[in-house]
Subunit: 150 residues, 2 copies
DNA sequence: TTTATATCCTATTAAAATAGTAGTATATTT
DNA sequence: AAATATACTACTATTTTAATAGGATATAAA
């Protein structure tokens, strides 16, 4: 499982993506309310994303956060990783949270290692081809579908 | 990430699978040493797997654990699930650890939900077609390969 | 029948990760 | 100047996971 932190980040960035074309920004408070994320927690998450260059902010009255890149270019895998969420199921096959197995003398000879690598590749394949823009598009499609057959 | 508990379980059951055809059993102590798993922790894990019917045990001197089913029939997904490891990345798409999203009014309309479902399906597809026997086979192949090109 | 060896079982503790909060400083707009 | 918003540091609380302790029970072999 990825931490709530990562999920909150995806939700918040999606909200920012929705106002991207109008060059608008959103305040922490408004995102927190809209997405039902604890305000102070969201503040910490956005601050971190800012320091990593994924978003930028404007201080002071009428300030807020906005995306630096186009929603097409921001992939779920990137968001998950930069908020500390490992995608792999075990540490010895994680790209960003790698840890050697204490019990494996040779991990190249470990069958479980090999299978877990395949799982990771399958997951990353999906998450690194899905952008914030894709997420929004999917939601539009789901909404249309539900309106046709209610 | 799945808990260490799940990984230890897979390692221990694989050890039991290796002696299955000879109708042999292994003691907790010997598995713990061989797989470098803390003995008492392994004891708790095997006890639970026994209560779920995945393994059986023989008490007393020269006792130990053995598989109840053929290694072909024991799938990684089953082991992970019964040792508390969720395969899904977020609770709202987990089969066995499902939790409703507080923030989603309609999860059928959530784009992230849809993507995470795909990730889960891809992972489960691999994990539920891979058995303990497959794991052993993979290791044999990896070993052969490494001996050819050392 | 005694001794050694193993599992059974419950309870407890330790450590780490995660989630969330507090409070003050700083910047910007009106 | 007042109101509003982010910046930043530090802290706390909660939960989960990992691991251990220790005695009860069963079995085999000496």
């Amino acid at each position: 499982m990825i931490p709530k932190r990562s999920k909150y980040a995806i939700k918040a960035l999606t909200a920012l993506a929705k106002v991207y074309r109008d060059k608008q920004h959103l305040s922490i408070a408004s995102i927190a309310e809209q997405e039902r994320i604890p305000r102070k927690f969201l503040e910490a998450i956005l601050l971190q994303l800012r320091n990593e260059g994924m978003v930028n902010s404007k201080m002071g009255a009428n300030g807020g956060y906005f995306l630096v890149k186009h929603p097409d270019e921001i992939m779920l895998s990137t968001i998950i990783r930069s908020t500390g969420g490992p995608i792999a199921l075990i540490p010895c096959v994680s790209l960003n949270f790698y840890e050697e197995c204490v019990e494996c003398p040779h991990e190249e000879l470990c069958g479980l290692h090999e299978v877990m690598l395949e799982v990771r590749e399958a997951s990353i394949h999906i998450l690194s081809k899905t952008s914030l823009a894709d997420l929004i598009l999917r939601e539009k499609k789901l909404l249309r579908k539900s309106e046709k057959r209610p």
